[in-house]
């Protein structure tokens, strides 16, 4: 057990710290997230800078254009990005989900075509998993893919797809055989978002912004060569995607919280004098952040050894989302009556946080995962 950086880790941290200092303008720090991630051209520009400096795809193998670095470097990357309040790489779906899935299941042609462009933010990717009638229950997907010659013809609707309105490609879970037993009729495709028949409609959400979209597919032709895994083998491929989503996600989430707790302390220093009850709540959020931070470190150890994220990742996501809701509500409360003004950081973050316990696995599903896969309780379904 050693919580200090190794010599290599310390060198990487120092180099990244200095690079951020000299490359990230002050007025680009502290993005609030949301629509700003897509609307501002700086997002892509910044992503390209990260790529050129070698910070995109840190843990990707060198043969695919990555840095081949250990997962601890990715963790340090998130920590330093949070410290600098730097915007994230705009290609999060490509980097964290599509890329690793292509590496695991894609043909050489697909790897050649996409991996480098994901890193450089030339290609933006989105995820087509959820449907109106298949949210948590992915195996119930009904978007049809019918094989006709050397193309799949896709018809159906996906929902809750971040980045779809600016995306070039989509990783799509389709139903190719409606008669097959559950889990066996799914096929995983890469779809060109600029192809005829693809229509994207932004979904306006609780914050008034549109980060998510609906995607409608009408007779969209997808070459068979764009299939990942076997026909009918889409479930296994989708599990690869979701596994990688969990990988170092905890560090990314905690990095965002770190920024939030930092702001909470600032707000509290300005606004709270002797109110012991409020001071105690602020301290409790700081403690919870440290608990998540060091749980990440513990799970990183397992991840480094096995390459597979441990199931404790579900607990981290669960607690992160609940903390972000509590923390942002407290931040807003500290502002007093100003907290209801429709223009502030806390106002936005508090509303946005309501999605945290729903997106990327609802809290209910995560508790089921912990109960069944970690604690070994009997399945509830």
């Amino acid at each position: 057990m050693n919580l200090r950086d190794t010599a290599e880790e310390a060198a990487f941290r120092a180099e990244l710290h200095a690079w951020l200092d000299s490359n990230l303008p002050d007025d680009r720090r502290g993005w609030r997230g949301g629509e700003q991630r897509f609307g501002d051209e700086f997002g892509r520009e910044w992503s390209r800078k990260l790529y050129e400096a070698g910070y995109a795809g840190l843990t990707w193998p060198k043969e695919y254009g990555g840095a081949g670095a250990p997962y601890s470097f990715q963790a340090i990357f998130y920590e330093e990005m949070a410290r600098a309040q730097a915007p994230a790489h705009v290609g999060v779906i490509g980097l964290g989900m599509a890329g690793p899935t292509i590496m695991a299941h894609g043909t050489d042609e697909l790897k050649q075509a996409h991996l480098a462009k994901i890193l450089s933010a030339e290609e933006i990717w989105c995820q087509g998993f959820s449907e109106p009638d298949a949210g948590s229950d992915l195996a119930a997907a009904r978007t049809r893919a019918e094989l006709r010659g050397d193309v799949y013809v896709v018809n159906g609707q996906k929902v809750w797809s971040s980045f779809a309105h600016i995306a070039d490609y989509c990783i799509l879970v389709t139903l190719s055989d409606p008669d097959a037993p559950r889990y066996h009729g799914l096929t995983y495709l890469i779809v060109d978002m600029h192809a005829p028949g693809v229509e994207v409609r932004p979904l306006r959400q609780i914050t008034g912004e549109a980060e998510f979209n609906e995607i409608f597919f009408t007779d969209v032709e997808v070459p068979v060569s764009n299939r990942l895994g076997d026909e009918g083998g889409g479930w296994q491929v989708a599990m690869t995607t979701l596994l990688h989503e969990r990988g170092t996600l905890g560090f990314a989430l905690t990095a965002a919280l770190d920024v939030g707790v930092g702001r909470l302390l600032e707000t509290a220093r300005d606004r709270v004098d002797g109110d012991g009850a409020v001071r105690e709540r602020v301290a409790a959020e700081w403690i919870e952040l440290q608990a998540l931070r060091y749980t990440n470190y513990r799970s990183l150890g397992t991840y480094q050894r096995t390459g597979i994220p441990g199931p404790e990742g579900s607990a981290i996501k669960l607690r992160w989302s609940e903390q972000n809701q509590r923390l942002t509500k407290l931040g807003r409360e500290l502002l007093g009556p100003e907290g209801i003004l429709d223009d502030g950081w806390w106002h936005y973050q508090q509303l946005r946080s309501r999605g945290n316990t729903i997106e990327a696995g609802t809290s209910e599903v995560l508790r089921n995962i912990v109960a069944e896969r970690v604690l070994g309780l009997p399945r509830s379904r």
């Binding site: 001071r279 105690e280 301290a283 700081w286 403690i287 060091y294 604690l375």
Partner: protein, 303 residues
Amino acid sequence: MDFALTDEQRQLQREVRGFLAANYPLDRDWDAPPDDRWQELAELGWLGGAELSFVEEAILFEESGYALYPGPFLVAVGFVLPFLGDAEREALAAGEVRWSAEDRGLVPWLDSVDMVVDMDGNAQPARGELLPTVDPTRPLGRLERTNGIPLPGHRDVARARAAMAAEAVGVAQRALELGVEHAKTREQFGKKIGVYQAVSHQLADTYADVELARSLAYWAAWCVAEEDEQARLAAAAAKAFATEAAVRACERSIQVHGGIGFTWEHPLHRYYKRALWLEGFGKRPAELRAEIADALLGVAVPA
């Protein structure tokens, strides 16, 4: 950075778990006066003889909570050691002199130790009025003061708190396991009750609590072992979080157990009482959070 236990530390953990499980099984006679096997602890080197790091000692505290070990190990190694000089350490390590320490005017196990470190860091003979507590294996006493003999060391508040946090993690872990075991075997309405999400989700929440508590406890233990500047904050955070987590873990486990969890016969209430003791002894969680707030926000200025 590497936050995993080493192979040697895992080996130690297995040995401690084995020793305590063999001598303090769940089906022990809980109401009989406990044998704390102090001499055996000395021979195993746990009383300072093996010169373990504090991370390894944290493993011992965690396991002593898991097994609900009844003796004054927590105070001897967690509280007292930093006060002692070489000669006293040797006698403690050999199991010859049993020590406790006064905290906020109260001395744990006053009736079963020989010597006490008082609030001023002086050694006193263990004499005074005994007060029963919520945890019958852990009485407190009010010291009858003499002038005392000055000791060469100092009070290490972070170490004491980190020790209590580690013990609380063990308590919480066992309460969770008992609840899970019950939910896997008990049937109602024709199904194992663990099928019902109203039951399983409580246990999932306890799991998250225990994992987070363990992370804080080991962070604090590492800071104490390394004399890191964050030791004081880390230990305050760990004690506040882990002892509350242990109390909640026991409360949820009692609920999951239904009626049997409320009986004297079932061991759960023993774990619950240990958790309440750990939460209440020294500074309580709310006071610790106030201390942390002072460090983060500056000391409060009354309006």
